[in-house]
């Protein structure tokens, strides 16, 4: 059932999404695109772009957008689909909400805790792998349709890495490039 699936998937993303926005992407994509097929890879890439240009963290943005789309594509009306948005957004926050309350209430020492530190000895390098996986999973023929895509990719890569161009400006420039190159 779509509602329970949505709740389950976003609780899972909220619980296992370590290492910030980009590191969460591979987990989100594995679930909502590859496993459940709620949205296409192109749509997912578009949401990442929109997330970069609108306020708020990508974890929240993707939950709000995918919650709506998944329910809407299951045949529910627009107003009911808004509840899907709310459910997914609530679910992605719930695991860490409970963790934060437990930590605050019991004064659990997370900082300088030897077990937490030890876990992060493994998590830190793995985070780099998670981000790399997110990039590799998006690098397919749906997003790279022809040689022009590779030119845009190479240019964006160079400008972001070496010139430190702001992501919003980069997306705007790429949009203009698309408009011109695909006319």
């Amino acid at each position: 059932m779509i509602w329970l699936e949505l709740l389950y998937v976003y609780l899972k993303i909220g619980l296992f999404g370590f290492g910030g926005g980009y590191a969460m992407l591979s987990l989100i994509q594995a679930e909502v695109v590859d496993k459940y097929g709620w949205i296409s890879l192109q749509e997912f890439t578009d949401i990442v772009a929109i997330s970069q240009m609108t306020p708020g963290p990508i974890g929240i943005n993707s939950a709000t957008y995918i919650g709506y789309t998944a329910i809407h594509n299951a045949g529910y009306s627009m107003s009911v689909s808004v509840l899907g948005s709310a459910l997914a957004t609530f679910a992605v926050c719930l695991p860490s909400f409970i963790l934060v309350l437990v930590i605050s209430y019991y004064f659990v020492r997370v900082k300088n805790n030897k077990y937490v530190e030890a876990a992060f000895v493994g998590l830190r390098p793995a985070t780099v792998g998670l981000i790399a996986a997110a990039a590799l999973m998006l690098m397919n023929h749906e997003n790279f349709i022809d040689y022009k895509s590779y030119i845009i990719f190479a240019a964006a890569f160079g400008m972001t890495w070496k010139l430190k161009i702001h992501p919003i400006l980069m997306i705007l420039l790429a949009g203009v490039a698309g408009l011109v190159l695909y006319s």
Partner: protein, 179 residues
């Protein structure tokens, strides 16, 4: 309580790009208002970083709880989430209708490869910031390959990384210390 909500709604609304972009604004707002001290904020920051989920929401829950317990935590979380929730909801309602538009389609054909580049660059910069070198570099390579080529769920990678970190520190690390 209403001030608390408004403050975090403002933080949620004015930080484009998410997570860490929110940090300076959160710090300025909550420390300036005397809700928590600078040292407390730095502590909360490092704890919030160690937790799963959305970093900016986690830190707002910490701050909210510190000021007004459970209701404070709920109000602050809601304040951080609500602006982006409403904006993305609006886009979800609207974007599905314009996505087939020829001009929008062309623009996004250009944007998609650039988005991949935006995610690819932090792979290098994060690896450098963490100072990964030597055999440690095998960890991200294996993790990415298992997800990308073998179709493993990132959940297993996270669990394996946690267990690996614990195992390495307490089994191998202890042995090295004894020698």
């Amino acid at each position: 309580m209403f001030t608390l909500f408004l403050t975090f709604a403002k933080i949620g609304l004015f930080t484009i790009g998410g997570g860490y972009a929110m940090l300076p604004l959160i710090e300025r707002e909550v420390v300036r208002r005397g809700w928590i001290t600078q040292e407390e904020f730095i502590d909360l920051f490092s704890v919030a970083q160690s937790l799963p989920g959305v970093f900016a929401v986690n830190i707002s829950i910490f701050v909210g709880y510190k000021i007004r317990r459970l209701p404070g935590a709920m109000v602050c979380a809601l304040g951080t989430i609500l602006p982006s929730f409403l904006i993305i909801l609006f886009i979800a309602l609207f974007f599905t209708r314009v996505a087939d538009n020829e001009i929008v389609e062309r623009v996004f054909k250009g944007i998609r490869p650039a988005v991949v580049a935006l995610i690819a660059v932090p792979v290098i910069t994060t690896a450098r910031t963490l100072g990964l070198k030597g055999w440690i570099l095998l960890i991200p390579v294996i993790a990415a390959s298992l997800i990308w080529l073998a179709g493993f769920s990132p959940v297993w990678i996270v669990l394996a990384a946690i267990l690996g970190g614990l195992g390495y520190t307490f089994l191998i690390g202890e042995k090295i210390k004894k020698h």
